[in-house]
């Protein structure tokens, strides 16, 4: 579902939702792995609508700039996402584009700030960034 061109659009989108600075961005932190697992599991029924949203995002970029979303500079990607978040769409969308942007933001945050066992937040990088330092060590199952 999220391979090929769609996979590239997803990766670019994840890194605009959570860009790299001195801390890794969303994709490097494993948000893509989180999303792959989520859309194969709890959100399997939502995978197609989300994928169609990625297609629409790419089409918006092409309509506005003559190249795909992936090929846009960061600033133009941000400007396009801001326009969509305000409801300014020209292409056919499977859901309201503002909703798509907000949903993407929450999904990426879940991967980035969630527990690493969910696939993102690799090495606890997001928790170290915000200063969340749980002391928690779970006992294993009884021998």
């Amino acid at each position: 579902m999220f391979t090929g061109r769609r996979g590239e659009v997803l990766r670019a989108l994840v890194d605009r939702m959570i860009p790299a600075d001195d801390v890794p961005g969303g994709w490097e932190a494993g948000v893509g792995d989180y999303l792959a697992r989520l859309f194969a599991g709890d959100l399997a029924a939502q995978a197609l609508p989300y994928a169609l949203g990625l297609d629409a995002l790419d089409a918006e970029a092409a309509a506005a700039h003559g190249c795909g979303f992936v090929e846009l500079a960061d600033e133009r990607q941000d400007a396009l996402l801001a326009r969509l978040a305000d409801g300014g769409a020209t292409q056919v969308w499977p859901l309201a584009p503002a909703r798509f942007v907000a949903w993407s933001a929450d999904l990426c945050a879940e991967g980035f700030y969630g527990d690493p066992a969910n696939g993102g937040n690799r090495g606890g990088v997001a928790w170290a960034m915000i200063g969340y330092d749980p002391k928690r060590v779970l006992p294993g199952p009884p021998a």
Partner: protein, 544 residues
Amino acid sequence: MTTYDVIVVGAGAGGGIVAGVLAEAGHRVLVLERGRQYRVDEVGLDHLRNHRLARYGHNTGPDLDGNPRVAVDIEGAARLLRPHEGGYHNNAMAVGGGTLVYGAQAWRFLPRDFRMASTYGVPPGSSLADWPISYDDLAEDYARAEREIGVAGDAAAACFHPRREPYPMPAVADNPQRHLLAGAAARLGWNTHPVPLAINTVPYQGRPACVQCGMCVGFACPSDSKNGTFNTLLPRARASGRCTLVANAQAERVLSDASGRVVGVAYWTIADGRAQRHEARADRVVLSAGAIESARLLLNSPTAREPAGLGNGHDQVGRSLQGHYYPGALAVMPDAVYDGNGPGVTIATTQFNHGNPGIIGGAMLANEFIPMPLSFWYAWRPADAPRWGLAAKRAMRDGFRRTVSVQGPVQEIPSPTARVTIDPAVRDRFGIPVVRLSGHTHPETLRTAAYMRDRAIDWLRATAAERVWARPIALGLSAGQHQAGTCRMGDDARTSVCDRFGRVHGHDNLLVADGGLHVTNGGFNPVLTIMALAFRVARRLITT
């Protein structure tokens, strides 16, 4: 077929205590629990699937599939809901029930909480009423719950309360938020004191002190220092040799004989993938399935004598469903107010539980448990916080350790139309008709909630906060983990379901022992009151 002295439906806060007291007193007890026993590693640490943030599931029963409810919103739209979804009003289904995964705030209600109608009058359209018992009637049972479950607190600081005895354990340690908020409250002239918690601050009853992991709410305790029925009264019940606990057992109905007298419980289990129906017999049946499911059981158990359901001759079962509105405010401080040490909730004020001009009741206000980063993302940020991009990332980085939350459980003004009924069409995996939730709290609750939100704002503004904000308050149904009121106690069978000892009116051997008994739900977390009432119900049963 084995005949038991007592069948207890539900092994949570209420049922666990009833089972323990009765088994130790020599009764043969069968406990039916629809959840199962969990080890701490089975509850796990999934930040997206737990009882604090149930984004895609949770970490105990009920299973997401096969256990639906129907909820009707205030616009009249009915939705079919799974257990982790908002509006389902779930509480953990497990051995120990909600006590396995709760934050464990262990408050006594105040004397006036038992006399709300006498104190404030009855607003039109509400079912506000006095309890048939007073605080004094429950004081010994509160003390026993604090002792036998295990509560840490500071009785000297809790001088607003007529308690006579010290807490069995010293209060939780200080943290930076307590200093900040104590100073602000002093400037405002408000009382403050530590929050009583059913968490070991010192070794107690053979289990160690809290390791301060900060994952109390929504999860099980890794050091077994959080106290519930699963590690106190239920093990005592089993140690007596007289208690049989059947987990994964879904009660279908209370069984009655031809005369309408209660004789047992029908329940279902799944063995080798096949559903099996069982009937167990007992002299007495105690329903402790929680306010919503206990009401469901009564309504699903009609007889020729009571065709609308047991105890429902006056159409009272399931009404006045209530929980708590949780208004509050948040603030970002100039410096970090986070030290990472759990539980994190350290300071409360009871300045506004009563005596607020023009307002009915009020609430305790307290700071919050250590938030998970994702609970912070979803609930702790102002509405205008950036949602994506570098600005969002930097706001999380900049705000997580500097944000403080103050909130509290508003004593709801009950409405008879906020209720549990049985859905006419939807059934669970065993074919048992499911709950339909409808109605909303009385509008007076909104006024109290807005008043308390403003007091939370006052408290935070009296600190050096850079910015203070609050979440909106809207009319709706609240129940959830604090669910109460559906089987209320009273002396008049026309306006209540149970008598002052938890017996269902018209029955001498059918009882309720859970939050359903609460006439009103206090401006506090209700679990210690559920526990005290369970001790009271059980105490009466072993002497009659």
